[in-house]
Amino acid sequence: MNDVKCECGHVNPHGTVLCESCGKVLEEKEESKKLLDMRYEGSARRSQTYNKTIVDKIWNFFSSVKVGVILIVVTLIASSLGTILPQEMYIPQMTTPAEYYEDQYGWFGKLYYELDFNNLYSSWWYLLLIASIGVSLVICSLDRVIPLYRALKNQRVERHEGFMKRQRLYGVSEQPGEEAMSRLEQNLKAKKYHIRKKNGSILAEKNRFSRWGPYVNHIGLIIFLIGAMLRFVPGMYVDELLWIREGETKAIPGTDGQYYLKNNKFIFQKYDKKKDNEVFGAALDRAGMVAKNYQSNVTLYEKKGDTVAGESLNLKKLKEAKIRVNQPLKIDKFAIYQVDYKLDELSKMHLALQNKDTGEEIGTIKVNLYNPETKYDLKNGYFVELKSYFPDFEFDENSNPTTKSKVPNNPAFVFKMVTPEKPDGEVSFVAIRQTIEVDGNNSYKMAFKGVETKNVAALTIRKDLTLWILGFGGLIFMIGVIQGAYWNHRRLWVKIVDGKAVTAGHTNKNWYGFKRELEGVFEGTGMESPAEQLESGKKG
């Protein structure tokens, strides 16, 4: 594990293929090759050589590009698995995921749920895959960029002949005169080459910064991943859903009870052929109903003072706002968007106390379905008592009336009707479209008269302090791509040996363009432009 001293006197790290300074081939198996592999300038990727401790072993694992590619492929496959069935956050609310997946998708849905694919993108193993790609990026980059930087910094003007001979572009010409050399120099300068000279030899080089492009790109990706990671830090990212009925005031989730929102009205508008611009007419005939506007009129409140949960709140009105699709209400760093709605949820029911024989109505009561009164006085000795209430009525397994939820989807009541004729009262069970009487011969009934409904709006509360980091990472990423893609690192060596001029050229990409440029550079110097040594490269 010792460093390798080259015959030129430069000391290279162990594992170096080409001397960092003169380019002499240090590894024997490279000696037999006609052309050199110039990737990373033949520098020592240390991961390839040190394999002693557990730290080195972990390092080497992540340093492998092969491992990196496998990680990316596995992540792609895993990501696609998550799209086969909807993720848990997209299934209807108030359903049990375990049952929903099996009901909807059979055995496959059950398996999908059992494998936890319903929350795939936040599962520990998926995050671990993404994190491994990040680690692989960091280590791969570090392991390559540092030796490459060293090799490019230490390169000297006069390269070893073995190095030059094995370049793709290589040529030998008669020794040029002074004039020819200065002409060459001028031509190179005109093409923006930087020139270093030693003992009459030349190293002309341009656009070295292009070699850092991939690493700048990786830095951008890492910043992007850091941004994604910061979403998990409390307070950085909020994405909550709020269902709110007309007239209701609720705490805005994610704001720690600081802000409250009241839904004054939810409006759903459709395009109307008569009222709207007639250019829409044909489209409306074809499509039928077309939504025009979804809007929640809300009032924003801020909580004042410290109250204990359950106490009545001291709310200060901040402003009125209209929330429409893509026109959120903004407070501090929060934005509240219109995302969903439910029209005509039952809110009040009107029922009349009616004489069954004469049809005479004594009076009408209005029952608030969220919090009904228990006694309704109809004057003159008539009153109705609510004995029992089931907002979302069904019969349970023992055929007893029960409720499925607190939402009045299917309200049912037990009323006791007290009248001067029947001062002890008559009991009646009233549900939508059915009435059951206890003894079967009541003289009064509760007749359905009508309902009042309310709309419910769903709002999304969003806060994202990581957005600028993601944007910044993306920008760096693009700079890296551009830096590596639109410039090429080009080098030309000219070495004077025994009355001959040995020339060699190297570029990291676009060999055709480089050859064209060199032809121009050598024009009028009397020297031959270095020639293509790669068989397949001769055509182009």
């Binding site: 390092w59 995050l127 990040g134 680690v135 409390p234 949960a309 359950g310 919090n371 499925k404 607190k406």
Partner: protein
């Protein structure tokens, strides 16, 4: 030279491992963020029970509090209620307070439920959901055990058996 490299590699790997570890930890605990933490002070609340008596959690320092969230439409809640009531009778003179919170149904629905199951412990309705938000309730039933210092010692999601309730009572008995 080699030693320095080992140190540098170790540091880089540790930093990466810490970042990954934190992300995983934060992801797994994100549902409980801002909610009740075991070992921390339980969020205070004030609610009025069905008989009009005001209950403030902080007034019950020195007693253990068995706090249960429920609804009339929740089957498991309905099944565990009689057990809670039995144990309430056993432990009410031993310094354990039972407080149960309905998640905001109508008064009549709750009254009928109490009547049907002959419940004797205090029942409160969290009308505007403030207490549920403070405790991060989802799904039902949800039970919290609070010790005599007002600290949460345990939270339990789901239906309780009578033995479990008994062992919970023992746990918070001062």
């Amino acid at each position: 030279m080699k030693k320095k490299r080992l140190v540098v590699r170790t540091i880089i790997l540790l930093v990466l491992a810490a970042a990954v570890g934190y992300t995983l930890y934060a992801n797994l605990t994100k549902d409980e963020v801002n909610k009740v933490e075991i070992g921390k002070q339980a969020p205070n609340f004030v609610l009025v029970d069905m008989e009009g008596k005001k209950h403030k959690l902080s007034d019950y320092k020195g007693q253990g509090v068995f706090l249960n969230f429920w609804a009339t439409w929740c089957g498991p809640c309905e099944r565990e209620m009689p057990y809670i009531d039995n144990q309430y009778k056993q432990y009410k003179d031993q310094g354990v307070k039972v407080l149960t919170v309905d998640v905001g149904e109508s008064k009549i629905a709750v009254d009928k439920f109490i009547e049907r199951h002959h419940l004797t412990f205090p029942v409160m309705i969290d009308k505007d959901g403030q207490v549920q938000t403070a405790y991060g309730i989802n799904p039902l039933p949800y039970t919290f055990l609070i010790d005599k210092d007002g600290k949460v010692v345990r939270s339990y999601k789901g239906e309780l058996t009578e033995e479990t309730i008994k062992s919970f009572m023992e746990e918070i008995k001062p």
